[in-house]
């Protein structure tokens, strides 16, 4: 029984770790997405000039 709860504790830690990894990625991707949009807008502006 204790092994099982150890197991669950491990899983919980794993989930917590991964959650912060995900948070980190999402923030990075959001910044990157904004840059992609900005570049696309500049590009379209130049080409429609």
């Amino acid at each position: 029984m204790t092994r099982k709860s150890d197991n669950i504790n491990n899983l919980q830690n794993h989930l917590e770790d991964l959650e912060s990894v995900i948070q980190d990625f999402v923030e990075g991707l959001e910044t990157l997405f904004k840059r992609f949009i900005k570049i696309r807008v500049s590009l379209l502006k130049i080409l429609n000039h």
Binding site: Q23, K38, I46
Partner: protein
């Protein structure tokens, strides 16, 4: 900056006395970012190194953004607007928006399912039956995420172009621009491929486009990426699976 000196060398073209063909400083700066990104790929693709690489991509694209503000670039694009490479540039920019959205959605979806699992574990009421059911639910959602990712990866396959065209009658800045933007897309897409593989918990095949990157960058060897995380996405799926089926 020692690295600056080193990296610029390869980007010089033949010089003449009357017409200096040194690339614009912004192009050199972009190339530096590219070199750094490529070098960092030769190490592992753990989540921390990938997160670092996303930072590098931000810097690179910030630099590209500045490049598009240059009158020199704007004139070149205006002149070449009917050319194939400009079309490809537009297509490439859509692909980047697409793949970025896929990656973010996959992460947010996984996170949401993780939250539900965590709250069940924290409460620990209902006992095992409920926990197992929730884990199975999570694994099913992960399958959906993986499917979306493998579709996105399939769409990306072969898209990173290497268009054969004559650069003969183009000026130096245009040629440098074309080369740079092509490399930017290849490196960006490759980073996203690595990220998508990491999220879905699958290993990246050896024939990944990083080989193309290393060819473009003229380096000798590129390391094969491994899922180096001890507590990554793949390991979570595995742990949950063994919890459900073997305990």
């Amino acid at each position: 900056m020692a690295t600056f000196e080193l990296n610029t060398k390869t980007h010089f073209h033949a010089r003449s006395n009357s017409l200096p063909s040194r690339p614009h400083p912004l192009i050199l700066q972009c190339n530096e970012h590219l070199d750094r990104l490529k070098a960092s790929h030769e190490t592992s693709s753990s989540s921390s190194s990938l997160s670092h690489k996303l930072g590098g991509l931000q810097d690179l694209h910030e630099c590209v953004e500045k490049l598009f503000q240059l009158p020199l670039t704007q004139e070149a694009l205006g002149r070449e607007s009917q050319e194939n490479w400009v079309d490809e540039l537009l297509n490439g920019s859509l692909r980047l928006l697409d793949v970025c959205t896929t990656a973010k959605d996959s992460l947010l979806h996984t996170k949401e399912c993780m939250r539900e699992l965590q709250s069940i574990m924290r409460r620990r009421k209902g006992g095992e039956v409920e926990l197992r059911a929730e884990i199975k639910k999570f694994l099913t959602s992960r399958k959906v995420v993986k499917k979306a990712i493998s579709k996105a990866l399939a769409n990306l396959k072969g898209t990173t172009r290497k268009c054969s065209m004559s650069l003969a009658h183009k000026d130096n800045h245009t040629v440098a621009l074309i080369n740079l933007l092509e490399n930017v897309e290849v490196v960006t897409i490759s980073t996203f491929q690595t990220l998508l593989h990491l999220i879905s918990g699958t290993t990246q095949s050896k024939s990944s486009s990083w080989i193309l990157v290393s060819k473009l960058m003229q380096t000798k060897k590129v390391g094969c990426s491994k899922l180096a995380d001890e507590r990554g996405f793949a390991q979570l799926d595995e742990a949950l699976q063994s919890f459900v089926f073997f305990t």
